[in-house]
Symmetry: D2
Subunit: 159 residues, 4 copies
């Protein structure tokens, strides 16, 4: 029986990201004060997939000096949000309706990397999935996974 | 930089399922009245991955005659639960603590297939991921994705 | 400081449910094959709040004879869905986008009661909350809590 | 029929918080670099219920100058985590396993207040619920609701 792609399909067959959309994402990201506070940077922007990384700093820790779960969530939140934004139409934006995150391991390391990926694009709703990794001593470990629902809104204002 | 497996890693490197554990899963499944009501069957049982399928019937529909979202959730729930049970130790069981499910498309078709997969085994908690597909006219479409947390309990009674 | 209602506000100040809408809900419910299979009944329908109950039967159990988590989820799913349907406009319907459910206690008893409640009505999205109780020997115990997102769609077909 | 408390029961009948536990929470909070970065403060600590507030600042915004959804999530995360910590036994801690958050309204205002509340204490798992409010011009509006699962661990180290 022919098998269509599972929910976690690779993004290889997606249309390339337009320069205008890539610019819009970079501009929006630069306006997120929280990402600046985190020292976070967009490290990869593709159609349907966005990666954001942030270094460890005292200012993003929980009580044991690891990355705070809230920082892990915020990074994945932004990565999924921009992955969605990479796939909406002209003059549209994706607003986060909700997300669930499972913390898989202590977020311990020098750098945190969140990868957001659209697993179901839609005209009204977009579903995205995020994976967060902590890098330590040259190794990368999965520390969290997120499942997010976004609502597509028609507005030039929200881009 | 060496990259360790993402959360959705393939299960290829897992230890094979013991015959005793496979039996325990089959026995438990046969005792689930709801799965019998659904006409559901275990179609694949591996270490860390379990597939369950059910045919369409009037008795599992929502108001438009598609599979009810609750039936979709229940099938994924069982698939994830048994995937977890395939990986716990002797005399242990995995109790569902919670799950989140995103309904991606109308669950329309002749057969529903749920694949549950452990993405993070642990001594106390197990995280599993489920994908549900609807099959129609020889094609398979992703209709839902689930993220579940299970709690490992030490008891011969709960297996 | 004046305090506005929290997310779990009482529904007392909502407009009463129209007879047409109450009929639409009863009709839709009667068409859900799964609810018939469960022997479930609408026990209360108000604007923004719906209660559904089902008796215990062999056909809805998990391997220990308790209500199956999937049945618990399905009942809450329907209760939240109809709570949402009670609040959408003429010719609109609420489609379940996703939900999360926490199983709080074993669902053991003679009857299961799910109460769905809209906590955030909206033109595009509705957020509902569900509580499921098991009744045994004249006592009612909370066994699960659900948080659901629905998408409002404009169609006479989906009511 | 006698009705036992729903999942969102008031916390009135809980044992008062011990001074030692209140100290442990204050100490842990003061070590969370992220809360310091946010300018957040513990504004209420009771057995099973904790409130945390943070003022608006440029450093916690999303691209439109509202509170970033990730900051909203992080505040609720900490409030729920400390609500859980207020209820575990001597030498125990509550580690966040997962949470789901629904963003209900734009988080716009001068101050953000998160209230975390244990809705199901347990020896192995704790379920908490969080509500986040934005305050603006003397009014308080619900902007998010969270449902969290924590795992109780036996260790003096994690308090």
């Amino acid at each position: 029986m022919p098998l269509v792609a599972p929910a976690s399909a690779p993004t290889a067959d997606r249309a390339p990201l337009s320069a205008a959309r890539a610019d819009a994402i970079a501009t929006s990201f630069s306006k997120q004060g929280l990402m600046t506070t985190f020292g976070a940077a967009l490290t990869r922007v593709e159609a349907g997939e966005v990666e954001i990384a942030m270094p460890w700093s005292e200012g993003v820790t929980q009580q044991h000096g690891f990355f705070h779960g809230g920082a892990v969530g915020a990074l994945a939140d932004s990565a999924c949000g921009y992955a969605a934004l990479s796939m909406v139409g002209e003059g549209e934006a994706g607003l986060t309706a909700e997300y669930k995150i499972n913390l898989l391991s202590p977020a311990k390391g020098e750098r945190l990397v969140a990868v957001g990926r659209v697993i179901k694009p839609g005209r009204t709703l977009i579903v995205a999935q995020g994976d967060v990794f902590a890098e330590q001593d040259g190794r990368r470990k999965a520390v969290a996974t997120m499942l997010m629902t976004l609502c597509v809104v028609r507005t030039l204002e929200h881009v």
